[in-house]
């Protein structure tokens, strides 16, 4: 039985690029192994469920009190039988454990040529820091190049999951956790947050783009540096606003999310929590970014939900953000 189940589990399925009934496409080197583990358990389960349901229905029909008005006294226990149905499934279970163990070891052992990308999780955005220092809100990688992600969180727990890669890891404040994968398919995928983190948990998504080998360098040169590509400071600022996850809390159209909207902010008189009034000038904006707790806008206290961006945005980024905010009227 085991062998035939195994054979079933290993049968090629619908073209992996499309995904099948149960799964999204297989886009990483783990995917086929994990799916085949899944199908092994699936067929074993299906076997047991069908046998149990079959026997249940059969007995209920056959021994229905109308057909069988008097129950027959059969033996009330049978130790060999009971031992058999405890131990035999036990062997299959042990095999499942071994499958899981192999897969898990693989998921947790990055190869030495893996390229590291740092991932910072915050409510409700992911930021990726590439080896050359580029910071972005999208994860761009190359096909067949192993990638290691070093995850950290600046606020609460988050979890990084790319369903098409079949791997996931929590981002835990106060420690670094790691995750690796080798993409095997070009295209665009979603990374989603799977550890509940508050209001916009369900929109804490990042785009993962897998390029052909050689495509990453080109992307990094054009898109990677917000100040590059011939952008004006205001255009660079708009990019940084997206990349750094400001957009998760601040809109540009006047509607209110976790933070006040940026619409018309620059130069406005802001009412603070302590009752004072402040003009939103360059210094105020700079302070708001680097030390959000220093002055809190009235209605957003007692503690500001904004994390500090100290060490995460550079001086020219702040300058660009200010230039951008001037244009948001």
């Amino acid at each position: 039985m085991l062998n035939s189940l195994l054979a079933l589990a290993q049968q090629p399925r619908i073209a992996p690029t499309e995904g099948d009934f149960w799964f999204p496409p297989q886009a990483s080197s783990f995917a086929s192994k994990i799916d085949s583990d899944y199908y092994f358990i699936y067929w074993v389960s299906a076997f047991f469920v069908l046998v149990i349901a079959g026997v249940l229905v059969l007995f209920t029909l056959k021994y229905h009190s109308k057909k069988n008005p008097k129950a027959e006294r059969t033996s009330t226990h049978n130790t060999p039988l009971e031992l058999a149905w405890s131990i035999l499934p036990g062997i299959v279970l042990l095999y499942m454990f071994v499958l899981g163990f192999e897969g898990y070891t693989d998921l947790r052992t990055p190869p030495s040529n893996a390229v590291n990308v740092d991932v910072t999780a915050q409510k409700w955005a992911w930021t990726f820091t590439y080896p050359n220092g580029v910071v972005h809100d999208e994860l761009h990688v190359e096909k067949d190049q192993p990638i290691q992600l070093t995850l950290s969180s600046v606020d609460v727990l988050h979890s990084f999951w790319v369903a098409a890669f079949r791997t996931k890891m929590d981002a835990v404040p106060g420690r670094y956790t790691k995750l690796w994968f080798t993409p095997t398919m070009t295209g665009e995928f979603w990374a989603q947050c799977t550890e509940y983190c508050g209001t916009n948990h369900s929109n804490m998504r990042a785009k993962v783009v897998v390029h052909e080998p050689g495509g990453l360098a080109k992307w990094l040169a054009v898109e990677g540096d917000p100040h590059g590509g011939g952008r004006t400071p205001a255009q660079a600022g708009e990019k940084i606003y997206k990349i750094q996850g400001c957009a998760a809390c601040h809109t540009l159209d006047g509607s209110k999310l976790t933070g006040p909207s940026f619409k018309g902010l620059f130069g406005r008189q802001e009412q603070m929590l302590d009752g004072s009034t402040i003009t939103a000038d360059e210094n105020y904006i700079r302070e708001s970014i680097l030390n959000p707790q220093a002055k809190i806008v009235s209605g957003y206290g007692p503690v500001s939900a904004m994390p500090t961006f100290q060490g995460r945005v550079k001086d020219n980024d702040i300058a660009a953000l200010i230039a951008f905010l001037r244009t948001v009227k």
């Binding site: 994990i34 349901a53 499934p89 989603q192």
Partner: protein, 555 residues
């Protein structure tokens, strides 16, 4: 009027525990385990209704992508309160405190539990804890998820402290009930009833009680630490203060995994009774079933880390926890096989309690096998915190516990209330709920594997079809459950009088008047084989079963 009452106590004819004393205070301060059981019953059903309303709100919101009826913060509060109310106020106390309280002394042929005052105190604490949850509802709600993970729970502005205190108090209620049951089972078994001659329901309650008294204190301490952390910035769990958020998860699951067995073992135990009585067969493999409950209780203590394969816990820990987890699967499978063997050559009576029992076997089997995908580490990494998990634990906890609870409720209802209910309507309601349940939760497995994370207010468009199916299922389930409610209310008002032993069961709770007198029995009954259903013969005249022989236990 039943013959038992008539022959043994003519002066008190017609007096039972329900009408012996009257007035609200005679209930609120009663020491009678049966009345306490009924108060719990009303309480947990009220909690279930509240939790169910939240569930329907959630499912309605998920009908469409983006906002349907509420904003994200309201949604987050609704799923939190759905979970917290269902777990702490319904599932955990449901079977043991309501049905267990009513049945346990009766099954032992005893007058009451060992500590009737402590029993009343358990109930008062339950009420008190429930009030805290009402306060949470009135003071800004709760948005942490029922799991209270730090640091979210130490930083959110919602009423975490009230909720945590409520759960803390409910914990004591649970510990006291467990303690009471253990002492009662040890000390108050009637002459002739050894441990291996107890009805299996008592084995289940015993194993559950062990977990209640050993694991619940850990939850109490954890929640206390959480409250202190929040109030005084102690630094146990908060990384910025030198604490460790993963530690909270270890503490939390050290209780909450065994708690899964607090929820399911009593349901298993109910099903063992139902299957045997309604198939007119002696239960097959008594010892394996009884001991497997204890095995599950014990192994259940050392598998908590399977909730944490992607939390950052060490690889070694994950491997060990995965390995141990597979061992819980075996005793659960044993029970299913034994139930099937019990049906073999029986005379299976298809009625409302039995439909719940048969439904349970299907639902629990699915819940059980889908657990295998989550104990296998490689597949769990993909499935963790997705709708697959949501579907899995609803198959186990709702289908398991709720079906056990409803099956037990319909089974013991005649004894509890002295009234019969309309069996046809009962079966129709059970089937409706069964269809609704599967329609609600089966699509969620598919969503999970395909990439839908749990606790999501909003979702990608590709999942909408499955979400709509699931929501429709939830409405069907709700219709089924409302039918149950009306059926039972109708039975209370208009139901036919129930005979003493309408199902022909051999365990002691059926060998006294219906409804029982306050003292349960006029004299301590003699305990025989609790599954010797063949000792009873149906009497079409009275609709009652009459004893025609007496068999001692044969296991």
């Amino acid at each position: 009027m039943s013959s038992t009452t008539a022959t043994h106590a003519p002066p008190q004819a017609g007096v039972n525990y329900l009408n012996a004393r009257r007035g609200l205070l005679s209930w609120v301060f009663t020491l009678d385990h049966k009345r306490i059981g009924i108060m719990y019953l009303v309480g947990v059903m009220g909690a279930f209704l509240l939790g169910g309303v939240f569930a329907l709100k959630l499912r309605t919101e998920l009908l469409t992508v983006g906002k349907t009826i509420m904003d994200a913060d309201t949604y987050n509060q609704a799923f939190t309160l759905h979970g917290a109310v269902m777990v702490f106020l319904f599932i955990i106390p449901g079977i043991p405190a309501a049905l267990g309280n009513f049945c346990l002394p009766l099954m032992l042929g005893a007058k009451d539990v060992a500590f009737p005052r402590l029993n009343l105190m358990s109930f008062h604490l339950w009420m008190f804890g429930a009030i805290f949850f009402v306060i949470v509802l009135l003071t800004g709600g709760l948005d942490t998820g029922w799991t209270f993970y730090t640091p979210y729970s130490t930083t959110t502005t919602t009423s975490v402290i009230w909720a945590v205190m409520g759960a803390f108090i409910l914990g004591f209620s649970s510990i006291f009930t467990g303690l009471n049951f253990i002492v009662t089972i040890h000390k108050m078994r009637p002459p002739g009833m050894t441990f291996f001659k107890m009805p299996l329901f008592l084995w289940g309650l015993y194993a559950t009680a062990l977990i209640q008294i050993l694991a619940t204190p850990v939850l109490g301490i954890t929640l206390l630490l959480l409250a202190i952390e929040r109030a005084f910035k102690l630094g146990i769990f908060d990384a910025t203060l030198g604490g460790d958020p993963v530690l909270f998860q270890h503490f939390f699951w050290f209780y909450s995994h065994p708690a899964v067995y607090i929820m399911i073992l009593p349901a298993f135990a109910v099903i063992s009774e139902l299957i045997a009585v309604h198939s007119r067969k002696e239960i097959f493999g008594y010892k394996f079933i009884g001991l497997s409950s204890v095995a599950i209780a014990v192994i259940g203590f050392v598998v908590w880390g399977h909730h944490m394969f992607v939390s950052g816990q060490s690889q070694m820990a994950s491997i060990v926890f995965s390995f141990l987890t597979f061992f819980v699967a075996i005793p659960s499978a044993i029970k299913v096989f034994n139930w099937l063997a019990t049906l073999y050559k029986g005379s299976i009576r298809i009625n409302t309690p039995m439909l719940y029992a048969l439904g349970f076997i299907w639902l629990f089997t699915i819940g059980g096998v889908t657990g295998l995908f989550l104990s296998t580490m490689s597949t769990d990494v993909h499935l963790h915190d997705t709708y697959f998990v949501v579907a899995h634990f609803h198959y186990v906890m709702v289908a398991g516990t709720l079906w056990g609870f409803l099956g037990g409720l319909h089974h013991w209802w005649p004894k509890i209330t002295g009234k019969m209910y309309h069996d046809g309507v009962g079966m129709f309601a059970s089937i409706t709920a069964f269809i609704g349940f599967n329609l609600t939760f089966f699509p969620q497995f598919i969503m999970g594997t395909r990439g839908m994370p749990r606790r999501y207010y909003d979702y990608l468009e590709e999942f909408q079809f499955l979400h709509v199916l699931s929501t429709v299922g939830a409405y069907v389930l709700a219709v089924g459950l409302f039918m149950v409610l009306f059926l039972l209310i109708h039975s209370l008002m208009k139901g036919k009088k129930a005979p003493d032993n309408p199902w022909g069961a051999a365990s002691l709770e059926w060998q006294t008047a219906t409804p029982p007198i306050t003292e349960n029995f006029h004299e301590t009954p003699k305990a025989g084989n609790p599954y010797a259903v063949y000792d009873f013969e149906y009497d079409p005249q009275t609709g009652d079963y009459k004893r025609v022989a007496f068999s001692d236990a044969t296991h």
